[in-house]
């Protein structure tokens, strides 16, 4: 299945081949954790993960066409 991935700010450096947005091919039944591993985002990097605009976490089961957005916690205004 195909998953669209967008990375922002300090996490942009993990975009595959510097491409953003990028599309990842993953086997059916993949979870958010596989995306993070595939992108080599360190486990301890603070991050907010949205799947289709809803807060999510590593255990979330992905479906074809899902859109993942990952950004560092920012405090702005």
């Amino acid at each position: 299945m195909k998953i669209e991935v967008r990375l922002f700010a300090t996490l942009r450096q993990y975009a595959p081949g510097g491409r953003d947005p990028s599309v990842m091919e993953l086997p059916e039944g993949s979870r958010v954790a596989q995306v993070l591993e595939g992108l080599s985002i360190p486990k301890d990097a603070a991050k907010v993960i949205l799947v289709n605009g809803r807060q999510s976490d590593e255990g979330h089961l992905l479906r074809d066409g899902d859109r993942i957005v990952i950004f560092p916690p920012v405090a702005g205004g």
């Binding site: 289709n52 920012v74 205004g77």
Partner: protein
Amino acid sequence: MYGWRGRILRVDLSRGEVREESLDPQTAKDYIGGRGFGIRYLLKELDPACDPLAPENILVMAAGPLTGTAAPTGARYMVTTKSPLTGAVTCSNSGGRFPAELKKAGFDMIILQGRASEPFYLWIDRGRAELRPAKHLWGRTTHETDAALREETHVEARTTCIGPAGERLVRFAAIMNDKDRAAGRSGVGAVMGSKKLKAVVVRGEGEVPLYDRKAFRDLVEKLNKKFRDSLKGGQHPLRLHGTAVTVMATQNYGVLPTRNFQQGTFEGWEGIHGETLTRKFLVRPKACFSCPISCGRVTKVDDPAFKGEGEGPEYETVYALGSDCGVDNLAAVTKANYLCNELGLDTITMGATIACAMELSERGYLPEADVGRRLRFGDARALVELTRMTGLREGFGDLLAEGSLRLATRYGHPELAMVAKGQEFAGYDPRGEQGMGLAYATSPVGASHMRGDPAYIELLGVPMLIDPLSWKDKGKLVKDWQDVFAIIDSAGLCVFFTVRNLVTPTRDIRPQGIMELLNAATGAGYDLDELVRAGERVFNAERLFLVRAGFNRKDDTLPPRMLKEPMPDGPGKGMVCHLEEMLNEYYPVRGWTPEGIPTQEKLRELGLA
């Protein structure tokens, strides 16, 4: 005293008098400083029913005990007065260098009252203060005024001043310090203009005396190390891209206000995103006094149509002048921001009022002849031109200068003003972020992202994440955030550092780190409950002022678009803001009646009865 300087300047513009008063130590401890001092003096001295632009109104500029110290982000002061935009109390906050300089000059606060017959400025030179004629500065921009005054007084002096908008009593005129930092909201600049005070110029010396210098230095070093370590050799996202980086969050959550809040996502969002700003216009990041973050943006636009140099834009500005007006041209947004800084206007209300005019026009309620042009969402040139006209109250700008509620009411459609208590929303749509709706409705100053900002916890993951679409348990959450913001605003700190590093990473965000800094700086010996109560006292004192000015539950509300029109797009599609449910939880948690009035018991508990 330590931390506090113990001295207050009282300036009576009617009499042309400047005199000194001392700060009572118990008042200092109970109200902390900054925002707390402001409301303390307003409650004591001001008739809540007064006309905000009459000489009777008072305007308080107050720093906190940590302002001007080495405490990370100890840079801020608060301007408190009765607002000509809302008729409620307002407190408008700013950083930069001026507030720290005021402390170094030996003062915690300035109380301005009366009205002069012609323009003056206040010159504070290392502990002494005098009023000086400012006729030669009237009509000048904030940048021109800053340069002229530093030449006239001292090159290292710091200024806070109004521009042409404040002189012309634009209802959302700002007070600009250090050229480009704004005490922006609710028309504090119009109140200063009504008093015919053009500027305050200050030069200090030495350091703010501290109670336990060693303990304070150890705390600061520990905090700065923790901050550096958290970066892991990289850059803070706000230093990298400024606060406008928040666009990627609000767009993806579907709460980026677009076309006067008709949508929650903006197809042109990448045009106004912080990363785009970095790529196109950033010259360098800029920090306020004692700040390790540097979220400020020194920028330059070369596009001949929108050429300029200055600072900004911030997130709230790119929402208001950008997506809310349907404008994705960042050069135009930045140019309009420069004009706001130079003329002395609040960028949020400016953008939101133009957005309101655009919707009125598109729906056929606002005649083209009144505007002098065909007004449509997305018109970048109109955005810049209308901003300029508003600051000078020229033509249609004279109507925009009244803010969106008065504009929309004039044309028969007050429901199209996206306001709470008459003040325009910040850059978050409450249908997709429920807690923010409650924060807008119950903020004492009208809609604001800075009087308790649930976006940190609902959107940004600071210090943790909770679901923005849920309205359950948001009453307690918003109350706790409002009270901790009252502490931050009173201590003289900036929210950006504090919510990450000086409060516990729990839902009730206890102000442990703030307390440690306050105790080392002042020797006041706060315990955690006392400090939490001080925050609650400040928030309730503001509410008491509102109640005395005639506000109650009916005013804790949002426009029908938020309460009845389902969100048309994005992850919050189909949602409305469940305000009533949240208010029903919020008032009891506050110790207020179902009408939104603090009970006698609550007031006694806080020493406000």
